[in-house]
Amino acid sequence: MKILIIEDDIFFQKFYSEKLRELNFEVDVASDGEEGFNKINSIKPDLLLLDLILPKKDGFEILKELESMQQKPHILVFSTLGQEEDVEKAKLLGANDYVNKSFIDFDFLLSKINNLLKAT
């Protein structure tokens, strides 16, 4: 299964990508929205871990551009303190679920990933 992480914070990038690779997921990362959108088109991930606040192109713009895509990936967005409205907006734009990265809980994230991938 291919997972693309679009996240500008190298701390979260490394944490999530290393943990997911240990579980044999095929993981790629992008550090800004433009790079992320290009990678969505080139690697066609099964699942997207998407930060909403990003340089160059934010997560909402990416979600809007994905709306018209026929076979779009499952989308799990990252949120943190003060982003309750952002999460609702992201869901309206097609995000399947979210995780609050204020509390690093890899097992919880993994359960959400597995639930979404099972629905494939």
Partner: protein
């Protein structure tokens, strides 16, 4: 998480945060000179947002909350299309100094600084 993981991620947290604080300070100084620069306001919003999320994720709640309150200044300016006053830029720099001291304390002692006074000087949203 295994101990070796904890040490690795704690070190990664400290190193990435130190670098981001320096970059953020440079952007705040630049904003003092160019208050109309919306790209700087956007960059500062993202930088404080990043410091917030990262700090909260590893359990440093006051450090994360202080970054959140400063982030709100730049989120409001970005959303309303207004400039950030020199007074608020100075206040953000003072807050950033506190964030830096907290990261330094985490690096040396493993616990964050008591930031109650700094938190009280910013509006809560």
């Amino acid at each position: 998480m295994a101990d070796i993981d904890l040490a690795y991620y704690k070190n990664l947290f400290i190193e990435t945060s130190k670098k981001d604080i320096e970059d953020t300070r440079n952007n705040l100084k630049e904003l003092s000179l160019n208050p109309q620069n919306t790209e700087l306001i956007e960059a500062l919003f993202i930088q404080f947002h990043t410091l917030k999320g990262r700090s909260l994720s590893v359990g440093y709640s006051q450090t994360g909350e202080l970054a959140h309150r400063i982030e709100t200044i730049f989120r409001n300016a970005k959303e309303s299309g207004t400039i950030v006053s020199q007074d608020l830029v100075d206040k953000s720099l003072t807050g950033l100094d506190k964030l830096q001291k907290s990261i330094e304390k985490i690096a040396s002692e493993g616990t964050e600084l008591d930031l109650s006074d700094a938190l009280n000087s910013f509006n809560k949203e």
